[in-house]
């Protein structure tokens, strides 16, 4: 090629272009790699092929699979428009080209995206399935419970005591803090109103009944749902992902005996005890606030409490314990078993477990209120 025919020169970082009358010469230069691919692509897209293209690779420094794939794309495009001649490539580059050509499949990766109605139907159906599974789970737990009592030697004392410690004893500090604060707040808020009527001493009736009957059980249950319900879901869910549950099943260890019942029973024992503890600390909180705000001495407060707080309120609060505990443990374990094979579902199920159990605890509490009021207790 003498200089005679040259019409146009274009220099680009990765492409040097010589446009002659009858042919275009493309010199590939520099690094044709992944990071530079978008820039090279833009330069290539601008080329208007004439009658003939000579594509020269003798000045290329490095060439990775993105570079080769890009070359392939434009080589094929130019070939449909004119004559293309490739020069100056090394043996390795040619082998790389062949390797990638062999693996360059036309078949598309199938799409996994789904339409709106499909997803809606799917989630409704999934909800229905979860409901059925929960019924199945409840039945299973009931049967295992009965079997426990028929064959008490299966009773897993060690696990149960372990979980009483984990879910009960270790929760005492946080429950003490929350119920003390709630007791205080109740007293403070009502103190002002009561003082207006000179009914200061009724603070004891108000705090005593509301704490023992309603507040202590609810607060304890909510703290335990957040602490232990979520832990049950996460533990059992992780065991599902690592296939520990499958391993247990194949060894003949029924997960209901080994994982779920011990947790449920432990919580049913621990929660009433925690409620009792919360009663005491909550009343201490309101006693503290009453003495600060209304000058009711501790002695006065306790005397009045013994007079007005009938023991049935205390028992109603305690009785709620096992019911709340059963809801929390069952929902926690059930959600754990629903975990599928991906890690994201642990997060989803843990959230769902806490939200569900708090909701059902409150619903159950409302049910208690209605029933007990109907009975006149």
């Amino acid at each position: 090629m003498s200089g005679l025919g040259i019409i146009f020169f274009m220099n680009h970082t990765y492409l040097h272009l010589e446009t002659h009358a009858d042919q275009t010469v493309i010199h590939a230069v520099g690094e044709w790699t992944l990071y530079n691919e978008p820039v090279i692509e833009k330069a290539l897209a601008k080329i208007q092929p004439g009658q003939k293209i000579i594509w020269d690779f003798s000045d290329i420094e490095s060439f990775d699979s993105a570079g080769v794939l890009l070359f392939m794309r434009y080589y094929e495009k130019f070939k449909t428009q004119c004559d293309v001649k490739i020069t100056g490539y090394s043996e390795e580059q040619e082998r790389m080209y062949r390797l990638l050509l062999k693996h360059r499949i036309k078949e598309a990766i199938p799409e996994r995206s789904e339409g709106f109605f499909y997803r809606m139907g799917k989630s409704v159906y999934a909800g229905y399935q979860v409901f059925l599974q929960f019924l199945d789970f409840t039945g299973h737990i009931l049967v295992s419970f009965l079997r426990y009592f028929v064959q008490p030697r299966n009773f897993r004392y060690k696990e149960i005591t372990y979980h009483i410690e984990r879910s009960g004893a270790s929760a005492m500090l946080i429950i003490a803090l929350t119920s003390f604060l709630v007791g205080m707040v109740i007293s403070y808020q009502s103190a002002v109103e009561l003082a207006k009527f000179g009914a200061d001493i009724f603070i004891v009736d108000l705090a005593g009944i509301s704490i023992t009957r309603e507040l202590a059980p609810l607060i304890t249950a909510i703290v335990v749902a957040g602490r232990s319900g979520s832990a049950y879901t996460a533990q059992i869910g992780a065991m599902k992902i690592t296939e520990e549950i499958s391993a247990m099943r194949t060894m003949g260890f029924d997960p209901f005996y080994f994982l779920i019942l011990p947790r449920t029973i432990a919580l049913m024992i621990a929660l009433p005890l925690l409620i009792f503890f919360a009663d005491i600390v909550g009343i201490m909180g309101s006693m503290f606030a009453a003495s600060l705000e209304l000058n009711i001495s501790y002695g006065q407060f306790i005397d009045r409490l013994q007079e007005v707080l009938s023991v049935k309120h205390f028992w109603i609060g305690i009785i709620k314990g096992p019911f709340f505990a059963m809801l929390i443990a069952m929902i926690g374990c059930f959600r754990g078993l629903l975990v599928t094979d991906d890690t994201e579902s642990i997060g989803y199920q843990t959230t769902a477990s806490v939200v569900n159990s708090i909701f059902f605890v409150i619903a159950c509490d409302a049910l208690f209120s209605v029933i007990l009021t109907e009975w006149g207790i």
């Binding site: 978008p38 699979s65 390797l99 499949i105 990766i109 199938p110 996994r112």
Partner: protein
Amino acid sequence: MPGMQKVIEAKDIVTSFGETVIHDRLSLFVNKGEIYGILGESGAGKTLLLKEMIMLLKPTAGEMWVLGHKLSEIGYQDAQMLRRQWGVLFQFGALFTSLTVAENIALQLKEYTHIDPRMCDEIVKTKISMVGLPARAGALYPSELSGGMIKRAALARALAMDPKLLFLDEPTSGLDPIGARNFDALILELRELLGVTVVMITHDLDSIYSIVDRFSVLADKHVVAEGTLENVLQSDHPFVEKFFKNEYAKKRLEKRVEADVQ
């Protein structure tokens, strides 16, 4: 070979957990463009050594050099740049379970480069095919794959960025024998075409005989034998004796020699 460039160098590495010492002043080096094997009994500390090379674990004492960086003094920026230059295949795949295979492979491409979706898709498909998976496997989630497919998908992810350095933890374990040999062939090809340096932990006699250039044998907290197959075979350490000098291994070796002669 003269003029060889060291890509990885471990100097007097000590690894211990409390009282338990796993590596006791262990040293080795890997040359550029080499396929380097690490061999040793289960629990010899191979995976831990690999983790120290890829900055997942700091050695208790000693120095690790990778691509010219001293890992104990590396800054955040350099460390991030270094991490883009290698690909790692974990022993159990470690694919992201909430992403499909194709999304797993595309992750770094999308994060670190500005390539358009079409090129990304093309690269992903090529890698999927290279490791011997069908295109439709790209749409599957890790939980829908078999053990061997997980290995392949994880290799495809490790190869996504055309790394200069490839770390493989027992790549052929869990593959069928034919798949394992294809795996070996692919690694060899990548080394020749892309000039990748490969560090692989392996128990696979065939891989050691056919693709590994040099390797070290880990036992008793040290490298007890090191070098080419011929070098290592001269060692009389009990593990080397047990691993290479049994009937099965000898037969395999004879076959390889015959194959070389032909």
